[in-house]
Subunit: 224 residues, 2 copies
């Protein structure tokens, strides 16, 4: 979609005040929640032909309304002079992205980060369990956030995930912290756990790639 | 959600004929497509308060219809005596899962597999680019499929992804094949590429965990 030379354009200073940002979150956040519910219903409904036709007709009307005034490309990262960054389209933590659980990362004063989140039926891999790829996806995000919060922001160079045992769907927790920094590389470690303990462990190497240099002066909280 | 002892129950022989399976795909597949479109609109719409309220009202009506007769847990893996397996809730390739692009894997006679797919704005990480975690997620699925197709089905033990350069959103391709097998472990390699070449490389080690033994006699095509 986006040409590489257009990337800087996707870092949008839209000049919104903190109040306007809060209003946007209140307006579009619940819409994303509605669609998250529809994701589950798409998987779980036993509706017959007539009921599905009725529901699809309503969805078509809703889509028409939402499409009347819309962007067509990726969301990018919006920000304001007030310093608030909004990677709201992010696939793991985006407020406006129904694919995102979303995972909301908490930053600790010791440099570590963690997140508690709930995975519904849409994150399934092996029957009844979280897809291993979904766990990798969340680890990539949370380890990247740990790199940034620990003072070494960057893009993922290598991500290694070791699966100890299947993680059930439902309530899970991720933890991550920088293990060490070597030059422009941050080595970050982390885990995902359920109530019974650690399900998988990860190590990520985060570096700053050349294409990011154009926007290097912009501090972007963990955009994956 | 699902208790570990209930996992076998999630492998459901629902006794559908091939014709009934096709009917279900025709009924619920387009519903998932509608929700995929809503995922994008949730991120991209510029609708004002009144329009969002109208759209949400329609979505609420649709959700009510779809929720009248529904399952409440994960989809699991449905199958029939006819031998058709339906991991339709799968987060990467599920026909009924709007989170899945979906990725549809093609099996080659030489044992390799590949898939071509399109990632919309809902798979964004760095501005304009595919989330590194989403790439890992797809690689986990496709490498697992290669392990199974190559004769060594199993769960992911370790997944390592090396990111060469950011992958733009849009049309991408995954390729995977078994590199070697050592006992119960299959070492699988793969890549994701765009029009300009390889964006990231992965190695996965796939093994059969103990919890899977209860359903080991059931041949389940790549369920992540």
């Amino acid at each position: 979609m986006a040409d590489r030379h257009d990337i800087a354009r996707l870092y949008v200073n839209d000049g919104l005040s903190s109040e306007q940002v809060a209003q946007q979150a209140e307006l579009y956040g619940p819409l994303a929640e509605d669609v998250r519910d529809l994701v589950q219903l798409s998987i779980q409904t036993l509706a017959d032909e007539d009921a599905v036709a009725q529901a699809r007709n309503l969805l078509a009307q809703a889509r028409k309304i939402l499409a009347e005034n819309r962007e067509t490309g990726p969301y990018g990262v919006h920000f304001s002079d007030s310093g608030e960054f909004r990677p709201w389209g992010n696939a793991v933590m985006g407020l406006r992205n129904p694919i995102a659980p979303p995972v909301q990362v908490v930053e600790e004063s010791d440099g570590s980060v963690w997140a508690e989140f709930t995975l519904h039926a849409g994150y399934e891999g092996p029957a009844g369990h979280t897809h291993g790829g979904v766990l990798a996806s969340i680890l990539d995000q949370v380890l990247g956030d740990a790199a940034r919060h620990g003072g070494s922001p960057g893009m993922t160079g290598t991500l290694t995930v070791r699966y100890r045992r299947p993680a059930r769907l439902g309530d899970l927790r991720a933890d991550a912290r920088i293990d060490r920094v070597e030059g422009s590389k941050a080595f970050v470690v982390g885990t995902i756990s359920d109530a019974e303990g650690v399900c998988c462990e990860a190590e990520g190497i985060f570096i700053t790639p050349k294409w990011m240099e154009a926007v290097r002066d912009v501090h972007v909280p963990g955009t994956g």
